[in-house]
């Protein structure tokens, strides 16, 4: 029994970035500090259209508890969110809506394509369904599965955290990023 209570009161926190520290001070680079903050407070915008959305809800729920990774604050306004989670089948008619949502998000922003339908159209190889959201918006992390298990979504979010942590401060202003958006015709 004593061991159990001890285990519950043990906390792990986010590891500090690479730094130089001494008595009473710690020095690190700005992009590392900013990256740390961004990565551990991602505000997801769930664009959930079908069963992947249910798995997303399970991920947010108590069993899997995405809040452990600093993403418990869902934003249902694209203007306040960092991470677009597209979970479900996107029909061709919904494509422009998704694109507008992506365009409304403020920089920096990331996109997770959750599940087979969002990534490739999935089983819906048909005239009315968009064959993968990467035809209209850039995607950072793909999650396979139909639907994926919550562990897979957590893994995807950790991958996005990795991207956010290691992003150079000037990346969003760089030519490389502009070229990436240009491919999709996004200004």
């Amino acid at each position: 029994m004593e061991n159990n209570t001890a285990a519950i009161t043990q906390w792990t926190t986010v590891a500090p970035p690479e730094n130089y520290s001494g008595e009473g001070f710690m020095a690190t680079t700005l992009d590392k500090a900013v990256g740390l903050a961004r990565a551990n407070s991602l505000w997801p915008l769930p664009f959930a259209t079908s069963c992947c959305g249910i798995e997303f809800m399970a991920t947010m729920g108590t069993n899997y508890d995405l809040a452990r990774f600093g993403s418990e604050r869902l934003s249902f306004s694209p203007r306040q969110s960092d991470l677009l989670i597209v979970a479900g089948t996107i029909s061709k008619k919904l494509g422009p809506v998704l694109r507008q949502v992506y365009e409304q998000m403020a920089e920096p922003k990331w996109v997770i394509s959750m599940g087979a339908c969002a990534s490739s159209g999935g089983i819906f190889d048909t005239y009315s369904v968009l064959q993968g959201i990467d035809r209209i918006i850039p995607v950072d992390v793909y999650v396979p599965g139909c639907p994926p298990r919550p562990e897979q979504l957590i893994d995807a979010i950790l991958n996005v955290q990795h991207l956010a942590k290691n992003e150079p401060l000037n990346y969003r202003d760089s030519d490389r990023y502009k070229q990436r958006l240009d491919k999709y015709g996004i200004k």
């Binding site: 061709k92 008619k93 490739s120 159209g121 190889d125 048909t126 005239y127 009315s128 369904v129 064959q131």
Partner: protein, 170 residues
């Protein structure tokens, strides 16, 4: 209250419309094939004659018969399901017409509910309803260049480049 009979409706319509009634079938419920140009008058009669009282348009949908299936000229069609709430009776009406002349009188003057149903039939089959107040696509995106429920339209998405036909046995 008098109970409606299949024969009564069929003969009643034949008396009024004569040659416009092409075929009468007694399937799961009475199915009457009428000439395309007469459909508005037939439905109007069924709705407004108090003997019938078909005051409810349950559904309306398109059909497509390619030449390869029927062995005849390629045809489009429309099916109308009418329901008499007063007499608790249902009836089905059919019209058929050539695909290169897909014009039908709209029922929107009789049933406001026909508005969206006819837009759907237009969206998927390209049937043009004359007199419809707002005939545009309802389900699909406006920029579709095709009518997807026509059988000559391939259902698989044609923009895929990652499919190897050999993997699908073709």
């Amino acid at each position: 209250m008098e109970v409606l009979q299949n024969d009564q409706i069929a003969s009643g319509l034949k008396n009024i419309f004569g040659d416009s009634i092409l075929n009468v079938e007694y399937l799961d419920y009475l199915t009457i094939t009428v000439k395309r140009d007469a459909i508005l008058e037939v439905v109007k009669q069924l709705k407004e004659d108090s003997v019938y009282g078909f005051g409810f348009l349950t559904d309306l949908c398109g059909m497509h018969f390619p030449a390869s299936v029927t062995g005849q000229k390629e045809q489009l069609g429309v099916v109308y399901m009418l329901h008499s709430l007063e007499k608790n009776f249902r009836i089905r009406l059919k019209i058929l017409f050539p695909i290169d002349d897909p014009y039908v009188n709209s029922l929107t003057s009789l049933f406001n509910g026909a508005n969206w149903l006819e837009r759907e039939a237009f969206d998927f089959y390209g049937i043009q309803f004359k007199g419809h107040p707002n005939l545009k696509r309802i389900m699909n995106t406006d920029d579709f260049q095709y009518f997807p429920y026509r059988k000559n339209f391939p259902l698989e998405d044609q923009t895929r480049t990652d499919k190897n036909d050999a993997m699908f046995g073709r």
